[in-house]
Symmetry: C2
Amino acid sequence: MKKIEGGVTAAKGFEASSCEANIKYKDRTDMAMVFCKEPCVCAGTFTSNVVKAACVMWDKEIVESGRAMHGVVINSGIANACTGKEGYDACEATAKAAEKMLNVPFNSVAVASTGVIGMQLPVEKLTAGVEKMSKSLDASMEAGTAASKAIMTTDTVNKEIAVNFEIGGKTVTLGGMSKGSGMIHPNMCTMLGFLTTDLSIEKKLLQEALSEVVVDTFNMISVDGDTSTNDTLLILANGLAGNETIKEKNEDFETFKEALFEVCRFLARKMASDGEGATKLFTAHVLHAKSKEDARILARSVISSSLSKAAIYGCDANFGRFLCAMGYSGVSFDQADVELYFESAAGECKVFEYGVPLVFDEELATKIMSEEEVIIRIDMHEGEEEATAWGCDLTYDYVKINADYRS
Amino acid sequence: MKKIEGGVTAAKGFEASSCEANIKYKDRTDMAMVFCKEPCVCAGTFTSNVVKAACVMWDKEIVESGRAMHGVVINSGIANACTGKEGYDACEATAKAAEKMLNVPFNSVAVASTGVIGMQLPVEKLTAGVEKMSKSLDASMEAGTAASKAIMTTDTVNKEIAVNFEIGGKTVTLGGMSKGSGMIHPNMCTMLGFLTTDLSIEKKLLQEALSEVVVDTFNMISVDGDTSTNDTLLILANGLAGNETIKEKNEDFETFKEALFEVCRFLARKMASDGEGATKLFTAHVLHAKSKEDARILARSVISSSLSKAAIYGCDANFGRFLCAMGYSGVSFDQADVELYFESAAGECKVFEYGVPLVFDEELATKIMSEEEVIIRIDMHEGEEEATAWGCDLTYDYVKINADYRS
């Protein structure tokens, strides 16, 4: 597998475009479109929040229908959540406008939204945007990057990646983009993520690969513990790479899953480190847990704790807060088995050993915690399983961004 | 029932004292003692965090033993959590020193600590403090207030209350104090709370009353979602009021439980409104839920959400965040049944009606949200149960306080 330049337009047959639709933001792009003329198989994972945005309900329906898909239309600024029937009608109008412009079948275009909850979308601006974007679709790397920028809200960097890998002698490309900075605590998938590939694969296996990979990537990040109403991750596969279609869980399937894991892991880490107000990536690595699920729960609990996140911001090796967060996670363990280390590019420092606090070099600990990525390594000494979760620090800017987000 | 002045020394037979033991803080009192010469029946509830502080393990043991109790020794500054055998030995040394000085039986004194996790307590300073406090015990109101101040950490106000009520023609007094400002998301009880009463009641019924009342008071508050390692709530009852001992769930039991509920509710609300960095009390009132447990979970989820808390700080009626927090709480419901209102001393404003966002007076909403207590009323229209939870807003100061708490 090789990382290459680009994002959603890297794989053969995919085009993208974006525009200024003035939905809520002014003087910036706020709509994006990803399109493929060929019919694609599609898989998706969606928020587990029972308050689902209208677009999530729309997408779930068409992904589950099993119909061939041709693309997705995305807007930033308004989330189209908690908007009742009027919100659902806006999804339908957007998708229909795209299907008509692009001359593709009924219900073959997904829609996604991100932004303020509880506001109605201006439908005319949406359909005007669709019309504009349908005429400017482009397979260039630049068009993909522009699309990834158009879907940002409080994000400070755009998030995209593409990779190549070989399946049966054919070069397959997988690319993607995502956005997400606040209300990030995905459960089944993340805020918004769109992946495209020219791989040939059956729909059922595409969904299985995506569902498996999400568990240890997007579902292992948190910015603020708030699981969004809009979490949506979609993957479109058009088969243009010409590989023999993957119809079973063979070696090809594993090769693809590995590439998919790396792409999702890259985008998930990128979202965590760009969490609202964040100054650093905060990683928890749990080793030797009794079960994989225990390891995941412990790692997520640590990176989700407000007090741990504030300590990471302050470069304060206040390790008791990390143990406290493990303790209320719901996993049962004995603190007398536990060892804790802080580590980063600046070195490593052991702070807790088998239930006993160590006297450690505070200066070294502060230096370690001042790096861009700070890792807390947690050795449970109870079994063979491990997991990693990614979050960010809690800063003044998180509060500032969220105290008056709507204005 | 009548609210009276005072706290832990209000009930007959209880004395208190405090001192500067210089455990971690300088130039302020940091140890407190509550004592009763008569043997007391005792009940307690403790943190559900599996990483329990040494003092929690000590207290659980003696509360469960059923022995008569005589008092409690408390320190602030160091929490004595994650401290292994050395930490447990410190509890034993403290309790033994008090038992010797006060001439009461072995294992009849509880200990409690609050402060930094992962640091060892200086045992000699503790026992010196115990000696000093044993000689200055006093039944005055002032001594009780001084004790409630000595156990504060990042608290900005001390928290105490006392009430009178009648049982079988006798006047019974119940008083208490608590502390807690950060790492507040109690589960089984709260940070530290100590209640004293001259009621005569059997131990089993005292425990039942306490356990029942805690569910809708201390367990319904949250400052930051972090369930502490040290949560401890103890009640001592010495029988000096002279009422006929309560031995069954009769009318007297209900009268006592009502008083206990009001005392716990008062202290719990006080803790929530004094949450670290808080500028206001943030109350969620869920009505017409399918079950009591659903109502509790929904109310707690809303007041625990970082995004909702930041909106409360910014006086921003961004109601979608509240719906979002309900949606990921684990309770299943249909947003089309829900109505939402913001209310406070400044009025009331409906913002969401049966699944549809309303156009509301933003100016009025901001005025409502600028008050000292802001309530979000959530009508589920699904059943007959209700619950209330109390939290606070998320502010710059929360981050400031916690970015470098140890120094």
